[in-house]
Symmetry: C2
């Protein structure tokens, strides 16, 4: 077990009817909020009315910044920063899924920075401060509601890059599983795949496979994501399954799932980011394609031990091959694509995808070359 530091100051308020609690919380931090949201689903599920009502009732003025897209775009982030600065916003409130929260984080940091916000993402500048951030999560998937990272896509350069800083931890995140009851099936699938991808990345690329407690935590989270998702697909109105899924996805990327693993590779994410940057597909869909291919590569290069251990604990199977098949089976059941053509991506593009992925792989200091990435992607044809 390797040395590690764990800290996560975000306060989670979880359960039915908790969104309104963000009103007094935000009011304690500021007087004028930039309210960041997406395409308007929060107006259909009632979150918008509850949240704006609670903010106003607590004396917080609201400046709206709507229209955040999945794979949030740098241009829209910059527009949000301008809006926050022009209106003197002193707090940011995000309502939506991981893309909305990620964009809100980028805006919160950019609003306190005189330079180009993209510098945070390509390693040219460090985030030292940010406006206080409050979130109402409506889509369990990315874990952004309880971590210090965010991902933004530069449309001009087709780069989907990330930034991290302790300043980006949300102060408070409100997680109401009832707001997820109306999620389309595809978003349920994408969220489950994304959470699972976060859970496994450290487990399979650890430098130290004798961190038993973290292996156990990883198994626990993965079992919960799989079981909850299957319950949700059977009965979308199953509140307790929605709740287990929501909390599992948060825990999947809040730091717990990598404690003691030492160095880890975010290799599946690095490859996937090029898929969603180039084809604008959902992150979860891209991961469902990349992960089985990467597992096959992992089996060839690292042997069967970790796949066998994971498969036995999570899927009740014996061999590494069966574990990979169990992942694919789960992704298919959830409705996610597991091969490039199933997402409309032509295999001829593999060199282009690999070349794009190399940008992030170099930026993150990972030791992979383009031929290896192409080899992995060739297993996803």
């Amino acid at each position: 077990m390797q040395n590690f530091t764990f800290v996560n100051p975000t306060r989670i308020i979880f359960g039915k009817a908790v969104v309104a609690k963000l009103g007094p919380e935000a009011a304690a931090a500021g007087k004028k909020a930039l309210l960041v949201y997406g395409g308007g689903s929060i107006k259909k599920n009632g979150v918008y009315d509850v949240l704006t009502g609670a903010l106003k009732a607590n004396g917080v003025e609201i400046v709206e910044h709507a229209g955040v897209k999945p794979n949030p775009a740098l241009s829209h982030v910059k527009a949000g920063i301008e809006k926050a600065k022009a209106n003197g916003c002193d707090v940011v409130v995000a309502a939506g899924g991981g893309s909305v929260i990620d964009e809100a984080k980028a805006i919160a940091a950019g609003a306190r920075f005189p330079g180009d916000v993209w510098d945070f993402f390509c390693g040219k500048a460090e985030i030292r401060e940010a406006l206080p951030l409050f979130t109402a999560l409506t889509l369990p998937a990315t874990g952004s509601e309880m971590n210090a990272g965010c991902v933004v896509t530069n449309e001009a350069t087709a780069q989907k890059y990330s930034a991290h800083s302790p300043a980006l931890f949300p102060r408070v995140s409100a997680l109401d599983p009832e707001t997820t009851l109306t999620l389309p099936r595809a978003q349920v699938a994408n969220g489950a795949v994304d959470a699972l991808a976060h859970i496994i990345e450290g487990y399979f690329t650890t430098r130290d496979a004798d961190a038993e407690i973290t292996d156990e935590v990883v198994h626990a989270l993965a079992r919960s994501v799989v079981a909850s998702t299957l319950r949700i697909l059977k009965d979308p109105a199953d509140y307790n399954a929605r709740a287990s899924m929501m909390w599992s996805a948060t825990l999947a990327l809040n730091g717990l799932a990598t404690c003691g693993y030492g160095g880890m590779n975010f290799i599946n994410h690095a490859i996937e980011h090029s898929l969603s940057a180039l084809y604008d597909i959902a992150h979860g869909a891209g991961l469902a394609i990349v992960m089985p291919a990467w597992f096959k590569h992992h089996l060839e290069t690292a042997g069967p031990a970790r796949l066998e251990k994971f498969g036995a604990a999570v899927f009740g199977v014996k061999t590494a091959d069966e574990t990979i098949l169990a992942f694919e089976d789960f992704f298919r059941k959830a409705g996610a694509p597991v091969r490039l053509p199933e997402a409309g991506i032509p295999p001829e593009d593999i060199p282009k995808i690999a070349a794009n992925a190399m940008g992030l792989i170099r930026l993150w200091g990972m030791k992979h070359e383009q031929p290896e990435i192409e080899k992995i992607l060739n297993k996803a044809k």
Copy 2:
């Protein structure tokens, strides 16, 4: 799954040679530290030298408060408060196990309070502020290094009571598993039992048994505690087993193991506190006696479902009876007593023990009467 709030701001620095990192951390919070420790084991294992060296090297003056006992005594807490006040200490540093950290918390709160510190424990006053606290943990067991509670024994009244406040979260806790390599076997056993007791208390008294993610987390932590302890008993020098045990015990009572369970009873702890208050036995030893008895009572009153689920996931057994036997078997293997006489406690004292427990049960607002507590204790004869 019931509504919950989760927040835990303590920073954990975990691994080899991390104790010295408390020097700069404490220096950022204060200039004069009350150094709280126990009987001197930290002088044998090197923690004392490293810690005092690091504090001094960072310009922090040290006022020593040694001699904390297992089941820390109110009189010693009060002496510590006087010392902190008289010397103008502005930070508290604890080095040791849960008793040391608990006493340090009580002192940290008492040093900022004009009244009687015991008022915090019997519900007459609320802790609103405390001196900043830093801890070097040397005994995995109580979880105090990453939570906001503490337990103190009033020797005059034989009351072992607890206090809680967000102000009691340690700022930083340094967990070096190497400092646990020389622990006596009995302390290994007591720590394992205590951690397991924390893990199961919510699971078995939940008002909502459909919080699958938290059930999974509980199973994961319990499996890790059991497996790590068996490895340690086999090979006390097994660093990775020590590390897994240490992190498991911390996670066992940092809030994660009860999320979504709604109301819970700390019934095993309430009963045990009277054992250690009356007989000054180790908390873990007392719990190893109480838990099997309480499980038998739980089986009679609540049915077999939870015991079966837990046993299948953690011990690989099928029936509720087998689960209880598996607990006893583990406690015995670890060297803990599982019946009152094995700890030298005469069964004739059961009415007295139950009467003492009722004090805490009433204080915590739990719905149990003395005959029920006696009935439970009679199963531990």
